[in-house]
Symmetry: C2
Subunit: 426 residues, 2 copies
């Protein structure tokens, strides 16, 4: 007998960029871990599966958060009066130092994972801190949350605060190996390690080289930051004069796509050569509009990336971003693209709602494989929203209800159900 | 015996721009309709008043929404893929036509007023539609909500949709008189009429002249839109070639401050002569960042206005804005000011949290008089937030909790208590 579940309700997903499919009172079928498509009537082959009637609720793919710093959740939404480099030194680094204490990490990451569980997000790519033990605690917490995630122990062997700078490149690499080996030993089902050089200013070439070797050895994905802020880009130019551009400082050591998948957060100030390399190397861009506003960084040229065929997803970037809400991220991506069109490049048409919805689902989902859509064969990640408290005098189409749910951030007041890889987590 | 109430909790308010006062476990005293200040111990004179212990909750002044379109609440958060003038014709005007039907108005405005009641907003300056009967229904609903508000029957005698263009200037003026007289007759306690020429493109000079006369006759305040979008500014230049600038088209008819108070929404593209006139005439600017992003308008030069001594408050501008949340408005004002600094004028230092908090409280509150602060003699408008569900591993200062409440929009998940002019409405 088939294992699975069928959800009945108002279904919306984006099978391709700028195209929303809306199916009213339809059925989405989950068999095992995978989606088997959306139907007006339950197909014969799936008649034995249980059906959950979502009572007219909205059924959407789970949101994909391509960039979030778990240790920064504690101060998210505070300390917003600084630019990036000041903010790191005054706000972010002092907090991250606390994760040397595993007790603190257990408490903080427990709360973080619980909030992620309750959010609209089904998958996330996560920074921890330099601390291996705390990073493993975060892995444990995320595994328990039911979300699928990549978690990275952070590497920093220069230019952090004293307590947040690892002893040497060799020590950082050794701890990274310990982290990876322990992840393998623990046999997580949903939580995978990812290499996480913090960013070029915090990683020597020696460390980058070692991480490149570890990447090849374990065939791991990579996450980092790229061209977020003019001051940071300038700093990288000075620190790594041999690199042709910021991203080249990763690429020289095999940490910038090509054979291994890589997600780079921000890419606000990527020069044409860098963009070309991102394209060649198959980089994913984690666009983080909230954070880019809060830290006065600017607006990433998302339209240009899409036109170039570069893969783009969204990141909440807590704590530069203030909220784990990806609904908020979707509307902020649209709003930012409108200001970009107005102030930076009138050739760069702003993002439609359908496009931003795609970025938050199938766009970012591609980093995990066939994820972020209700097409046949995609992983079954779904959220159900009960928007019945949002009553209006006029009747709303399902598409209007979906748009309203995002603009009015109904994810904040609760997700009615959530499934990840076919398993119910809420 | 004195009438009043005392709230005990963590109190935060902004008595001046860029200065937050935070008082932990303190008492704020309400006597009659007015605040009598904040104290560590209850003064002898107020010992007979009842004390509500807010259990460590956050006590803030009620938020002031200087610009909101009540009839557009129905579609807020939808139809966001257009620029201003297209959006008016395709989204806003068709919905506003429905308010010719008083039954529809009763239903829609009932829901609107209920949502405003549950929001963090204690006072609002509101657009209705051209329909006098529906506008009076909105007055009834707002009066019942407990909020203090100005409500305007809208004037439009050209260039709306056919169903939304009044027969003539004289007919529009006559309906305005009927609206005002009926407001007087009904004797509202908290709800006052405000003259509301929609904006120059929708009002002939003949109508403006008549409205100027009505304004003087009844000594009414005025609300309208100003220099929101380049296309609109250009349209006004063509329609009113005799006006020196957009705002002059109001000023020629006595609808732009001076003796009567006037609030103008947006002011994104005000030219220097217009800004000078705004200053001379004592105009309030309703800064509406959400709407200005959604309708691709741009970013208003708020820093410049503050430096010029122009009075600025915030507006949600539903339905150009998607949410009635003024907490969201505060953070969007900050985020916008950061992008303005980055892309438009690096001399215009971005807004701090304390500054934006001030705009949403005492800044906008000044349109209503002594409103928006907990200083002695100010109207007692207060909201109490229970942020106890927002737990973090680290201890947060009260100021951090307040900043978090805004950035994480805790107003969306409920206001624990709300007082307006000393009366409890939630």
């Amino acid at each position: 007998m088939k294992q699975g579940i069928i959800l009945k309700g108002n279904i919306c997903y984006a099978p391709e960029n700028d195209r929303l499919v809306v199916r009213e009172n339809a059925y989405v079928v989950c068999e095992g871990k995978n989606c088997r498509g959306v139907y007006e009537q339950i197909p014969q082959a799936y008649r034995t599966l249980d059906v959950i009637d979502c009572q007219g609720g909205l059924i959407l793919p789970g949101m994909i958060d391509l960039h979030i710093h778990a240790p920064q959740f504690t101060f998210s939404g505070t300390g917003m009066d600084y630019e990036l480099l000041d903010w790191l030194n005054r706000v972010a680094f002092p907090e991250e130092e606390r994760y040397a204490d595993s007790g603190y990490a257990r408490q903080a990451y427990g709360i973080f994972a619980e909030r992620m569980k309750k959010s609209a997000t089904s998958r996330a790519v996560i920074f921890a801190t330099i601390h291996t033990d705390a990073s493993l605690i975060l892995m444990d917490c995320m595994e328990e949350s039911g979300l699928v995630s990549y978690v990275g122990k952070v590497n920093m062997d220069r230019d952090g605060s004293p307590a947040l700078t690892e002893e040497s490149a060799a020590a950082s690499a050794a701890e990274t190996r310990r982290f990876i080996e322990e992840c393998i030993r623990r046999g997580y089902q949903k939580t995978r390690p990812i290499l996480t050089p913090r960013f070029v200013p915090c990683c020597t070439s020696e460390l980058m080289k070692m991480l490149g070797e570890i990447r090849r050895e374990y065939d791991l994905p990579v996450q980092s930051h790229l061209s977020e802020n003019p001051g940071e880009v300038e700093l990288v130019r000075k620190l790594e004069p041999q690199a042709a551009f910021y991203g080249d400082a990763y690429d020289r050591y095999g940490l910038f796509g090509r054979e291994g998948k890589t997600v780079m957060a921000h890419c606000v100030y990527s020069v044409p050569e860098e963009i070309e390399r991102m394209k060649q190397n198959g980089i994913w861009v984690a666009h983080c509009p909230s954070s880019n506003m809060n830290l006065t960084s600017g607006i990433a040229p998302v339209r240009h990336y899409l036109e170039q065929g570069i893969r783009v997803g969204l990141g909440s970037d807590i704590g530069g971003g203030s909220s784990e809400s990806m609904f908020k991220g979707v509307t902020e991506a649209i709003q930012n693209s409108k200001l970009y069109w107005r102030y930076v490049d009138s050739q760069a048409k702003w993002l439609t709602f359908a496009e931003a919805f795609y970025l938050a689902t199938k766009g970012g989902g591609s980093f995990f494989g066939k994820v972020g859509s209700f097409e046949d064969g995609y992983a079954f990640d779904a959220i159900v929203l009960d928007d019945s408290a949002e009553t209006y005098a006029r009747e709303l189409s399902v598409q209007d209800r979906v748009e309203k749910a995002f603009y009015r951030e109904l994810d904040k007041t609760g997700i009615a159900m959530k499934f990840v890889e076919g398993e119910r987590v809420l």
